[in-house]
Amino acid sequence: EDQVTQSPEALRLQEGESSSLNCSYTVSGLRGLFWYRQDPGKGPEFLFTLYSAGEEKEKERLKATLTKKESFLHITAPKPEDSATYLCAVGDMDSNYQLIWGAGTKLIIKP
């Protein structure tokens, strides 16, 4: 059964303290792995798509990496405005356009 697990559920960091969020997945055939950011009261905002093991994508202080079993979202020297819930989702080759979503990691960056 397809499954996506994100850890930790919540993470509190001081401003400038780098860390990583984890997304572990189980799918029969990976079509793609997607990272989104969601601010309170808003819809998720697309960040990255990763398609194959070894691929990396970067955007400002965020870097996403992918292996055959998991993805990491590395946050370097975060700022308070990086506080949000980060969602991971995977597409399975066998499921037409249906993404399997993780529960998210709530990231809080304290000034």
């Binding site: 997607f34 808003k42 819809g43 969602l87 037409n96 356009y97 249906q98 993404l99 993780g102 529960a103």
Partner: protein, 111 residues
């Protein structure tokens, strides 16, 4: 303005009433999706559409009806609202079926 618009932003309705949530996108994206987001369940797909007049069920379609007579509109109707349908509803669109752009959501309360 370009983008994806959901209306209403907030809605309170009574059990048994029919209610329609609207979604409009200006990019002419082929794919459109309806999700609900609940604490403890994350994002769950209700229905999706690959093109005008083509719709398909997602993970939790019971009690909902969709239509897509025009590419830009994808309304979601709750035929007879129940308290279990109290949720935040997000519409999304995509050019390729995966890189979604989400709307701001409709917070629906069924009393």
């Amino acid at each position: 303005d370009a983008g994806i618009t959901q209306s209403p932003r907030y809605k309170i309705t009574e059990t048994g009433r029919q209610v329609t949530l609207m979604c409009h996108q200006t990019w002419s994206h082929s794919y459109m999706f309806w999700y609900r987001q609940d604490l403890g369940h994350g994002l769950r797909l209700i229905y999706y559409s690959a093109a005008a007049d083509i719709t398909d069920k997602g993970e939790v379609p019971d009690g909902y009806v969709v239509s897509r007579s025009k590419t830009e509109n994808f309304p979601l109707t709750l035929e007879s609202a129940t308290r279990s349908q109290t949720s935040v509803y997000f519409c999304a669109s995509s050019a390729d079926g995966y890189g979604y752009t989400f709307g701001s959501g409709t917070r629906l309360t069924v009393v």
